[in-house]
Subunit: 226 residues, 2 copies
DNA sequence: GTCTATAGGCTGATAGAC
DNA sequence: GTCTATCAGCCTATAGAC
């Protein structure tokens, strides 16, 4: 009959903190080494927890991985949902989507690599709880291109093919950032410094908006005066 | 029962055929399941060879993998080299590069996934024999954008950032083809049929050439035709 | 060259002490 | 809730038969 206020015992790591640490450690390791390349020992060590805790809290390595996927994809899905509620021209929404993806990758640095790995592996771990989120994301972003074509902002491109260009560019850039950082540091690539995410997003936005435009470009439009 | 003339007794096909079978089986399995997700048993079974042959011919699983990487990347490198020897406007070369990549992915269906996996893993298996090929590829394709900017065909975009858009789109499309095939077959994606590679390449070419163009677009150019 | 048998190490999971 | 100790199973590699 104690007070229901969530007063927490401090000075010692509680269950919630251990779960969190395992989720964080797992995210990083699964993203970098893949599911099979990551051992429960690695996860436990990085989380400074005992490996028995993985079974205790999540029911095993596989279910920890699934939990991470669900949590990550759900956040991505809700962010996109929020974004697409706002209205605007297809240009603006496409730019906003790319920018949002950049923010998301900064907040969830392991999401792009995990998604890419899942995709390459045929979506083997995309269970019935993860797949709907994934599918909704696709459907909603596709609407941007469809809307752009309907309103005459975009050429009549194939929305699916275009979506693949956008997602491929974004996921690839963020999933391969660690590799570029490593190669450039080692002098393995003839580039002064690693490309910055903001610059990449800006470049992609320009290419897409100009590349999809129904009319040449805003600056040089020769269409009829309105 | 008698042995048929001209047919090899099972277990006595020649060495070259066995090596080839192991390389082929390894390519497919490593691309689909990754290095850690593939066991020598899986490779031997698919190649209809004994798993001891992997050590016998290649010196172990790791060295088989490296051999596959080197062979694949070398072909890619020489194809690009040949392509870039031909001259033409940057538009034409960029289109040709995308088309060549499509051909390459058809001939070497496991190259995109393997390259993507390597990139996500930080290039951990890119040994000193593979890395130069990889770097050369980057340097040579980058020349296309630099040339386009110099000759005034392209806007003054950042060649590195642009290269990442191109490679990301191409690798992503081909590396994730199996996943789309699976999801569409299962009704997991609201798409009638899987996008065709030729259509994807064509769509990408249009987006890139228009998106990079210094002048609005060829069709609506307000300047004199070249 | 191919195959069988097995060695030796690592993996994920868990019972039981605290 | 956390940790140690331990187990059964699977992994790669290889010695030796044919």
């Amino acid at each position: 009959m104690q007070a229901q206020a969530g007063e927490r015992v401090r000075g010692q790591r509680d269950a919630e903190a251990t779960k969190e640490a395992l989720l964080d450690a797992g995210s990083e390791l699964f993203a970098t080494h893949g599911f099979d390349g990551t051992t429960v020992d690695m996860i436990a060590r990085r989380a400074r927890a005992n490996k028995a805790m993985i079974s205790y809290y999540f029911g095993g390595k596989e279910r920890l991985y699934e939990q991470i996927l669900i949590s990550t994809f759900s956040e991505v899905g809700s962010r996109i949902e929020t974004l697409l509620e706002g209205s605007g021209s297809a240009d603006e929404m496409l730019r906003a989507f790319a920018a949002m993806f950049g923010d998301l990758a900064a907040r969830r640095p392991h999401f792009p690599a995990m998604m890419m790995r899942e995709a390459i592996s045929g979506g083997r771990h995309l269970s019935e709880r993860v797949l709907p989120v994934f599918r909704d994301m696709f459907v909603k972003v596709r609407r941007i291109y469809e809307q752009g074509i309907e309103e005459g902002t975009f050429r009549p491109v194939d929305p699916v093919l275009t979506h693949l260009v956008v997602m491929g560019s974004l996921l690839f850039f963020f999933a391969t950032e660690p590799m570029r950082a490593r190669l450039i540091a080692d002098g393995g690539l003839p580039v002064a410094q690693a490309p910055q995410p903001e610059a990449f997003i800006a470049n992609l936005q320009e290419i897409l908006v100009r590349g999809l435009a129904a009319r040449p470009s805003p600056a040089a439009a020769d269409g009829p005066a309105r």
